[in-house]
């Protein structure tokens, strides 16, 4: 039933993009830079963002007649994976989500106004979650939004509102919002909370597209998250292995102790599986029904893989692992925050059970 979902297709373009993105993120986001940005109000480097726009990364999954490159969603995956691998924060995911929401849920006028801007570097975000903690995107009251990433940098916010008793999507201009920054577990990211202002009718997206757009947002969010987590999981294993190869105790390099070696192999195996499921998800994402299965599987697996790798990484760094200076905590926090967004692994498994059992 699901055997063919394991197939992986890779285009030359994706292979090139992956190379390019890995190199770019590696250069622009060494861990010293990641740590410097933890203190930065904006949380990312605007010059680097401009370079990404220059490279065309923001227009990848936007059609050519809307100012984009007209490539596929799958082509976004190698970029998100590279960013995850190098713990590089940027508004890439939030802007991509907003663009996909507008592409699939906006009116012609909204598309024409926003998609060319977003593909050339204008920052956008999505405001979907409320203090109730529900992950179902249509369960909204439309009063207060939380976990709104990169709001400070965004010009436009795609948000869910209650209109005539119905859940609708609206494009709210950033300057109509008063927000406060939230303290979140993943310090590389920037999150905000705001009270939804009075909605101007012209901000609303067409009612009949709401449900399709919400499905799209969820799909894309889970795919991007799987990519970020899977990249981070592999990096976390590498980081741990480096330490296990250098730290000596009891006259031995600690990587020789099986109490550390074996769980590290398990972490590696988890990261490899997450990576394969990620590419399988990218391959199938646009197929009706199957896309959701493949993407939820990839996300559930990647979250678990990174959590385990980072948890053991803290432990295996000993006393140093308990310090802020040890990067293991950065990885662990990425996974913790991701689990709070768009559903944790158990949530995805429950959805998968409905689809598959």
């Amino acid at each position: 039933m699901t055997a063919h979902l394991a197939k992986i297709a890779l285009t030359e373009m994706q292979a090139e993009l992956r190379d390019q993105a890995m190199k770019f993120c590696g250069e622009k986001s060494p861990v010293s830079k990641v740590r410097a940005l933890l203190e930065d109000e904006r949380g990312y480097d605007e010059a680097v963002w401009a370079e990404m726009a220059e490279l065309g990364w923001l227009g990848i999954a936007i059609p050519e007649d809307q100012g984009g490159l007209g490539l596929e969603l799958a082509d976004v995956v190698p970029i998100a994976e590279a960013m995850g691998k190098h713990l590089m924060n940027s508004p890439y995911a939030s802007t991509t989500l907003a663009a996909q929401a507008i592409l699939h849920g906006g009116s012609d006028a909204q598309k024409a106004e926003w998609l060319p801007k977003l593909s050339s570097g204008t920052v956008a975000t999505v405001a979907l979650f409320e203090p109730s903690g529900a992950w179902e995107l249509d369960a909204v009251t439309g009063e207060t939004k939380t976990f709104v990433l990169n709001l400070n940098a965004a010009e436009i916010v795609v948000t869910t509102v209650k209109h005539d008793g119905q859940t609708r999507l609206a494009l709210i201009p950033r300057d109509t919002i008063e927000a406060r920054r939230e303290t979140i577990i993943d310090e590389t990211k920037r999150s905000y909370r705001f009270d939804v202002p009075e909605i101007d009718a012209i901000w609303l997206m067409p009612a009949e597209l709401t449900s399709a757009a919400l499905d799209r947002i969820e799909l894309v969010a889970n795919l991007l998250q799987a990519a970020e987590l899977s990249g981070a999981a592999m990096a976390c294993v590498d980081y741990t292995v480096d330490y296990l190869k250098t730290r000596k105790q009891f006259g031995k390099v600690i990587g020789a102790f099986q109490a550390l070696k074996h769980p590290t192999v398990d972490a590696f195996m988890g990261a490899e599986g997450a990576r394969s499921l990620l590419y399988a998800a990218a391959t199938h994402v646009e197929r009706q029904g199957e896309g959701e299965i493949a993407v939820r599987m990839a996300n559930a697996k990647a979250g678990g893989a990174l959590s385990y790798a980072a948890d053991r990484s803290i432990q295996f760094h000993g006393g140093f692992g308990f310090t802020y200076d040890c990067d293991a905590q950065l990885y662990r926090r990425v996974a913790m925050f991701a689990a709070s967004q768009f559903g944790d692994a158990a949530f995805h498994r429950a959805r998968l059970a409905e689809l598959l059992l």
Binding site: F268, M269, A280, A350
Partner: protein, 398 residues
């Protein structure tokens, strides 16, 4: 040469017609479980039929009994076998690792002498590596082989030898030099005959209650010196190569499958039939979660296999995925069995032969049997050492 597509279509038609159905006794799920003569005779005949029809060793040279086609042809036939869930190929050690070893590194005489009998299942092969005191520490093997003219004289014991009681030949790792500078340098590798004076096997009962492997005792058993494979003292190298075939890290196998794979969907089927707390187990939220987690793992392994074929996606560590695969697949099968037992709830306490059991204790037996693969061929712990050291570059455990 026939096209792969046509060959596959022929195979499909052949297996559709010839796959045995309604066999009146339990068939082994793996080659390590052949415990009765009834099973043995049946499987030997089955392998022979498949071979004669041209679907085993299709890519081995015709001079040695093969079909002279390509690997792609054989792979296509093997896929058809999986599709029809046909009985396993019996002579696993022959077709899986002794055969490829001889094919790749044997002399012309050795190839002509041994390979056809491997494919037809006329000559069953076994592997004499492990000893009562040396399993994981294979390099420490102590069975003594002393050269005496044109012969070597063997003394000692091998154990856990799969199909040892049925085998005509054994790939044997023995010590020819007790004074070598290190333990590995004193080992030699033989293609040893088993049906000779001084060789005796006793069956060992397995945890399932069945039989399938033996202990073998060598008492002044004399084998011809030309059964030595490679040079005297270089047995370790040959043994390591053999393990690469065994663990699937090196190709050349005659094809067909020798271990049936656990399909997580079978467990889903069980979850529909089994009951927990008076409800279908499938409706129990905890069981649903466990099932999904297991299906995701299964899917990840399949995706790993697909990704391994795509060079730009494995460049960083080209051997990682093949080296992980034994560990993953065997542990997965064990965990799937465990999950199945949980799903059975109150019924999980019955065993094979009990009327109240589900599917005649299939899952109980298959869970217990799953350890054959997590222990045999190098335990999961040894696999973790190998991956840790050879893939991640961690220091050796001493």
């Amino acid at each position: 040469m026939i096209s792969v597509e046509d060959f596959a279509a022929q195979a499909d038609a052949w297996f559709a017609e010839h796959t045995p159905r309604g066999v009146p006794f339990m068939l082994p799920l793996t080659f390590m479980e052949v415990g009765t003569d009834e099973q043995f005779d049946f499987l030997r005949d089955w392998q022979n039929q498949v071979y004669r029809a041209g679907y085993l060793g299709a890519h081995w040279p015709t001079d040695y009994g093969g079909g002279g086609l390509t690997q792609k042809h054989q792979d296509a036939a093997t896929r058809v076998m999986r599709k029809y869930n046909v009985p396993i190929m019996l002579n696993a050690i022959g077709i899986g690792w002794a055969g490829p070893l001889i094919l790749d590194t044997g002399t012309e005489d050795e190839k002509r002498k041994y390979l056809p009998g491997i494919l037809s299942a006329d000559d069953i092969w076994c592997q004499g590596f492990s000893e009562p005191d040396n399993g994981s520490d294979l390099g420490n093997a102590q069975l003594k082989a002393v050269r005496d003219g044109d012969e070597y004289v063997l003394n000692g014991s091998k154990t856990w030898t799969t199909q040892g009681n049925y085998a005509k030949y054994m790939i044997l790792l023995a010590r020819t030099d007790f004074d070598a500078p290190n333990k590995y340098a004193g080992l030699s590798f033989f293609l040893a005959p088993m049906r000779i004076p001084g060789v005796e096997t006793t069956k060992i009962r397995k945890l399932t209650g069945e039989y399938g492997f033996t202990q073998t005792f060598f008492t002044d058993a004399r084998i011809p010196a030309d059964t030595l494979m490679g040079q005297e003292g270089e047995g370790w190298k040959v043994a390591m190569r053999t393990l690469e075939y065994e663990r699937g890290a090196r190709g050349g196998q005659a094809g067909g499958y020798t271990i049936s794979q656990t399909d997580p969907l079978e467990v889903v089927g069980l979850a529909k039939r089994a009951t927990r707390n008076g409800q279908p187990a499938l409706e129990d939220p905890v069981m649903r979660d466990r099932l999904m987690a297991q299906m995701i793992e299964g899917q990840a392994m399949m995706a790993n296999r697909e990704r391994a074929k795509i060079m730009p996606l494995v460049m960083e560590r080209p051997f990682a995925l093949p080296m992980l695969s034994k560990l993953q697949f065997t542990e997965y099968a064990r965990e799937t069995g465990e999950l199945a037992l949980e799903l059975e709830g109150a019924q999980s306490g019955y065993y094979v032969g009990e009327a109240g059991s589900r599917e005649d204790g299939y899952w109980q037996r298959s869970y217990l049997n799953a350890f054959s693969a997590t222990i045999g061929g190098g335990t999961s712990q040894i696999q973790r050492n190998i991956v840790g050291e050879h893939v991640l570059g961690l220091p050796k455990t001493r």
